[in-house]
Each structure stands twice: as C-alpha cells, then as structure tokens.
Subunit: 484 residues, 2 copies
C-alpha cells in the first residue's frame, strides 16, 4: 500500500517536473519515450542508462531554466555533448531519475575575432566545425582527436581533452580563454573573456574545465586560435628502445623548438596488429621495437621543414639514437603516416577486447615504468600482449593489455581486468604518473581515484564540489562519489 | 576595567600563540621586535602594516605546523615571498593581529629533470635563481619580469605573474606542472606532479595559482622548462597608430609563429620621458606615435633570425604598416633595445607620481579603447599625459596617467585617482577588458573588483573561499573582502 502511494506521488512529482521542463525548453525538446539510446547508451556500448527525460535546451538561458527546475525538484542532471566520452561520464545511470541534458542544440559559432586570434563557440559545436571555422579565417584551432567529427567543444572542455597536438598547443584547457557556464543554482556566469591576461580573482575557468560537468554546465567558450603554419610535415623513425625514443624527443625539442607539433610512439605489437588486420595500410619502415611519428610545423614552407627534419634525424642516425627514418615526401604521405598511427585503436579492436589504460608519466620515467609494468604483467598473465602506443611527447601512453594469442578476449577482460589494473596503476603510482592522462575519471575510474590521488587533494575536491553544488545534482557520482 | 582585563587576556593568548609558533619553527625564526619593515612595508612604500610576528619556517612541514597553530588560535596569516607585489597583497594590515609568514627560507631547488624539462623549486627561491638553474642545465625557464632579482617563485605563482615572455610561454600558470601547498587546516597537499597531462579531478593547481595566498600557501612547485633558442634577436619598429601596431602583430604571428617571443609597445610620451630623464640611453629610432619592440627566438641561429626579421619588417614597411625599423646587430644591441623598454617605469617615476593601471584588452579592441579612454581623460583632466606602454602582444597595457606638465603630481594622484580610475576602468569594461592583467587584486583593487567582475563569478569565488578557508584566516581581506 505504502509503495503504491509513494509511486503515485513520485509519478505526480515527475509529471510536474516534466511539465515545467516542457515550459522551459518547449514540449518537443523533452523526450521521454521511444528509442533514446542515442543519449542513454555510450558509443562504445559499455554504459547503458535510463533517463527520466532527455532535455534539449536551445540556449544558455534555457539551460539555466532547466537547471533551476531540476534544482527545485532535487532532480539530478547529466550533461552530455557528443556522447563520445570514454569513462561513462555522459550517460545517465540506470535509475530513471536523472535528466539527460543534451547540449547539442547550442551549436552556433557566435563570433570570430581574427586580430585577437579567438572565436566564441557554443558548447554543442562539433570540434570539426570549430576547426573549420578557424581554417575558413586562415587560422588554426589545434585541438585534434579521433572523435573530432562528432565530439563537441563543450565535452572537450568538460573533460580537458588532449589529442595529438598537446606537445605544442596544450590540452583543451590551454586553448580556452573564457567560459559561459550555468551554475548549480541556475545562474549564468558570463565569462567569455577574450583576454590572454586576466588576474582578477580565482581561476574559475580552469576549475570548470576538466570537472566533467560536476561543478557547472559549460554553455559556450572563447577559444584561442593560432596562426596556420606554412607547412606541416611528418617523419617516421625506428628506435630500439623507449629510452632512445625519449632521447630523440629531447633532440627534436632542442632543434625544432615549438616547430615540433607531434611526437607519437608505437610499439612493434601495435603496428603488427595494423599489419594483420589492415594489410592495405602502408608501413614505410620495417618493424622495430618502437616506431616514432614526428610532426613538424614550419613557418617557412616544405623545403625548409624537410631540411630541418633531415638535420635532426640525420644526427640521430649518426649517433645511433634511431636505426632508420622516413620523411614524408608530400602532404599525402604525411597523411598516410598519421593514418597508420590512427589505425591502431581499430586494429586492436579487430584483435578483440583488451584492458585499456590511459596513463601519463614524466617522460624521464617512461622506460623504467614500462620495464616494471611489463615484467609484472608477464608474470601475472604469461603470454599477454601489450598494445603500447600514444603521445610520447606528453608522456601519455595508451597502455592496453591484450589477451594471449588465441585466448578468449572477453573472458580475459572480465576475469583479469581488476588485477591487471592494479598492476598497471601500481607501477604508474610508483613512477609519479597519472591513472588518467586525457580521458578523465567519469564513472569508470571514480572508485580507483581515492587509491591513487593525494588525500588532501581529494578533500579539497570534495570541499569544492560541496561548495559549488551543495545539493549534489550536477552529474552525481561522476569523478567523486556523492551518493552514500 | 573590562578593557584592561580583555587586553590582559589577549596578551596571554598571544603569548601562548608565540610560544607555540617558536616551538614550531625555532625561537630565532619568530620575530616580534626591532625593525620589521623589510616585511611590514612593501617595496614601493605604499603599504605599511604591523605584524603580530614575522614567522620564518624552514620547510613545508614547518609551514603546516604554523598554519595549524594559527588556526587553533584563530589568528590570520599573511604569506609573503620577496615582498615585491604591486597591490598590497603581501604585507600585514595595521592591526598587529596578523602573522606574517615569510617563505624565503624555503629556497632550495629540490630537483631538475632534464629529460622531462622540469625542475622542482621551493616557494622562496628567487626567480633569477630558478632561471639560472635552468640555464645551468642548458634549458630555459622563460618567466621574466622587472623584479626577477628579488621576487620569489612562490609569489610569482600566487599572483600568476606575467612579464615579457607571456606571448610565447604564457603566464606563471602556464609554466607550472604541479604544486605542494599547505591548506587552511594545515594539511600538506603533495601535488608536485611533473606531468603534462593529468585528468584526475579538479584543477586545484590553477585554482591555487593566482589566488594570492587566500586559499592555501604554496610551498614548492614543479616548473616547466623549455629548450633554449639558438639565437634571440630584437628589432624596433615605428607605427603611426596603435591599429598599425596590432596589424604588425598579426603579420609577425603569421610569419614567425612561436618564434615571436616578445611584442612590446611604447607610446611617444613614454619614450620622451626616457629621453628627458635618462638621456644616456640610446634611442635607435626617431620619435613616432608608437614604437614597437619585437623579439624573435630562433632555433637555427642569428643569421636565420635576421633573415626572418627582414622578411616580416620589409613587407610591413612596403605595405605602410610601419614607417621605420631597426634590427639589432648584436646581442648587445638587443639588450640596449630591451633596456630602453625597461627604463620606462623608472623614467616615469623621475617625472613624478602617476595614476597606474595594469589592464588587458582583446588586441582587436586596443585602438577603440585607447581612443575612448584618452578622449574622456583629456576632457576630465586637460593636459594630462599618458604613459602608455606594455605587452601589446598579450593585450596588456600599463596605462598610466601623469599629471599635466608642471602640475603637482602628488596632489594629482591624491585628488584625482578615484575619478581617473573610474574613467579608465569604465572604458576597460566597455571593451571587454580586465582591470588587472598581471598584478593581481590584493588589497589595492579588492573594492573595485565587485564593480567590474561578473556577479555570478564573484559568488562562485566567495563559495570557493569559504569552502577552502572556512575560518577566513588565509590572507584575509585580500582579493575578496572577508571581514564585515
């Protein structure tokens, strides 16, 4: 009897909530029935939730109105951009009590200021649209990552996305000059500064960036643009050890300075998976323990870029730092080299599920970390195969553990994930690294975080969360556990 | 009678406090008598306070112990580095109730990691010492500003210092990879990460940086180093308008990319003051409305740098963007050009007190701002003279209003400051600018801030302050008013 009454009451309350949400954004933008898997299921199909409703505001004012309605009802909100996250941070839980707030209708480029090297984009703009807007003005928005055709700039900022150009241009955080965001109380912070210097108080911008929607909802951002280089050229180099790759990095930084815009490393097994599953993709160098992709952005042109590459790589060859090298002859060849690097995630998927780690270390510790982790993994899971690749210039490896040849990959993931994670993250911690370099915490790593994060830092995070979202309604149980 | 009793009680309490402080850091490091003006008086002699005691801990643990003692007694703490601040943020108030916590004994370079391009410096390290440690390792720590011989890295981070290399390398914030800091409760946050990527939670690092000691006390930092350029070269260029200077900036960014490491502008009156008061300083170009100093850092060498400068400046001459140019012939000539720029602050001081503004604007708005502010100032204070110079590449002007020729400068400052500030800051706000680009808020601009800062941002700042320093003991009444 009591249950039936409680249910009836809950239904009545939620009916009022839905009515008020419809009043805020229009009835057609509050979805409660039909197939909502575009919002409730993440793209890797690892997280499926059930939303109370999918709400699609069309402006910052409407976002604020939605937040105020939810706050009045004590209803949790899960903000979502392009739904391309990797840590379960943007899909609702299974309770059916959370409002999924989709930002994709906020998709205007509001302004572009060529002289100030800045543009203002709404949160729902697809990253590629932002890149294109910059390119149309003869400028560069350098943030670049695999999901760029569908991820949104709001999500990129909420997760402080990384990608392939961090070495030179920094993470998403470094490319943001200002924010417009809605607070937990439904107020709009108008902070779309286009300034390079502004020391008027606490750095709320960087606090919101990377907070994964748990402190406020980003509705627009002023983004920093850069001059387009005259030429961009890539090269591949073969290294016998990761230590040699780190030495090559130092030499390239010394001689190319900010011209070095990419430095990716791929171990032999990564490239062997590409050869196995995508034999049509050209591999310019014969197999070696490590293959490095270098990208040089030059302000003078192709001939100058080539000359500089030849200088650095020639000296590295002479000193035995690398065993072989290939410099792209054309833009098309440069694209082929990047395509090789970017095919690794798909190639590993073809090989079967694996246990993924997005980790970062000081580059000086990479070799020691890899040796320690690899030895421990080989002892714990003889025959395991390491898909080890990533943004070596930033110390960021995607350090993925694949089941032994012929083993059941799904079973390996299911049965060994916890143990393998403990080995990898233990080695990461021992070498001063991070258990999440660029993907964030979300739901996936929330319960790991307290094991690897400084206790004082965690206490500060909790205090900030409680101060800015006292009801705990913004993306609850992501990053920090907020429920009991 | 009651007053005498209260006084006796206060004295007894403070005697206990002092005893406990002496136990924490050693009796010789708790100063209560003699001439304490090195700590109680700021270097520009505009702020004089009275400390309950000057306490000089020698380690992060001792800083934490001091904070715990003060927290137990409800005693406010004013952290101080090199005491070179410009906004009254590092000297105690006149009440005699605040502990002045000097960080200068924490002055070790703890580690330098060449491969990782990073070093760990304690808060009390003088900036020049940090620069030198990097140089000794063949690397560059690019933060550079006038006070570098006496300011400390802890103060640089607490105020997010700017300086002359921001255009390429960013503010102090962009040069910090990790922090060690003491919280208001006296816990130590061990966050000396040497990572370029770390998305494990909220960005506490950037929150502490620029918070001027009001959220926690920085005790050490991991700093990002850069490769040293092969050659650094400067040039001067004459522009008829600030619009032309902005056009030149765009051309230089397009053609020099990250090689452009400095872009400073000086109006004619600024340089005329140098000519008047420092006639020995060489001025390579004849007077023009604006003189721009460009710095180019080149990875190949002097000849290449010169060639690139000639390309950019030659084209700018041809297109009428500049009227004249001089490229330094040597390192010595480059230094002379910088010396000219750096002499402006002293030259204006020779001319008498003036009303200073450290402002930033989107570079696209600089011309409109200057026109509006200059017209309004001329109406309000006919004959006023504008010492207008600064880091134009960052949109940062030191926009200082000098009394009319022959007028009483001290009286002008005293009588007109409030009105002049309102005019300048009003124009800054109208053009989307900042009333503090690189100096911070401190006590000087605390009461101005609410007029120019977004109300929601201010409310968020207050919430963060209350969450991290609930007793309000860390640098009270700086940045935000915390007392009633």
């Amino acid at each position: 009897m009591r249950d039936a009454r409680a249910l009836a009451l809950a239904q009545a309350v939620s009916a009022t909530l839905l009515e008020r949400l419809r009043a805020a954004v229009g009835a057609s933008q509050v979805l409660t029935g039909g197939d909502l898997s575009a919002w409730e299921l993440d793209w890797r199909k690892r997280w499926r939730g059930k939303a109370l409703a999918v709400v699609r505001p069309g402006s910052a004012d409407e976002v604020a109105a939605v937040v105020r309605v939810c706050a009045a009802h004590g209803t949790p909100i899960v903000p979502q951009g392009g739904n391309t996250g990797l840590v379960g941070g943007g899909v609702p839980d299974t309770s059916g009590t959370q409002v999924l707030l989709s930002l994709t209708r906020l998709n205007r480029i509001r302004a572009l200021d060529r002289a100030n090297l800045a543009l203002v984009a709404e949160a729902g703009c697809v990253l590629q649209t932002v890149q294109q807007a910059a390119a149309d003005a003869g400028l560069l928005f350098p943030l670049s990552l695999a999901a760029e055709g569908s991820c949104t700039i709001g999500g990129n900022l909420a997760t402080n996305a990384g990608g392939t150009q961090v070495l030179r241009y920094g993470n998403a955080r470094a490319l943001c000059l200002g924010l417009e965001a809605v607070t937990a109380s439904g107020d709009i912070w108008h902070g779309l500064s286009g300034l390079r210097k502004d020391n008027t108080g606490y750095d709320l911008r960087d606090l919101f960036i990377g907070s994964e929607g748990t402190l406020g909802i980003i509705t627009a951002a002023t983004l920093a643009l850069h001059a387009r280089p005259a030429a961009t050229m890539t090269a591949l180099a073969a290294c016998a050890t990761i230590d040699d790759a780190v030495t090559l990095l130092g030499r390239a930084q010394q001689h190319l300075g900010a011209g070095l815009t990419g430095f990716e490393a791929m171990n032999a097994f990564s490239l062997s998976l590409v050869a196995r599953h995508m034999p049509q993709i050209q591999q310019p160098l014969p197999p070696s323990p490590w293959t490095v992709l270098l990208e040089l952005s030059d302000n003078e042109g192709e001939a100058h870029a080539r000359e500089r590459f030849e200088g650095v790589l020639g000296a590295a060859l002479e000193h035995g730092v690398i065993g072989d090298a290939a410099i792209a002859e054309s833009v098309a060849q440069s694209r082929t080299m990047w395509h090789l690097r970017e095919s690794i995630p798909l190639a590993q998927a073809e090989e079967g599920l694996n246990i993924k780690h997005d980790i970062a270390l000081p580059v000086s510790r990479l070799a020691a970390f890899c040796a320690q982790a690899e030895a421990a993994l080989s002892r714990a899971a003889p025959g395991m195969r390491l898909v080890n690749f990533g943004h070596l210039g930033d110390g960021n490896l995607h350090f993925n553990v694949q089941a032994p040849e012929g083993a059941d990959a799904a079973a390996f993931l299911r049965e060994r994930e916890h143990e393998i994670n403990a080995i990898v993250y233990g080695a990461v911690a021992a070498h001063g690294g991070s258990v999440s370099a660029e993907h964030g915490i979300g739901a996936l790593k929330r319960d790991e975080l307290p094991h690897y994060k400084d206790a004082t830092a965690l206490a500060l995070m909790r205090a900030v969360k409680h101060a800015l979202d006292p009801q705990g309604l913004l993306n609850p149980d992501r990053v920090l556990r907020t429920s009991a």
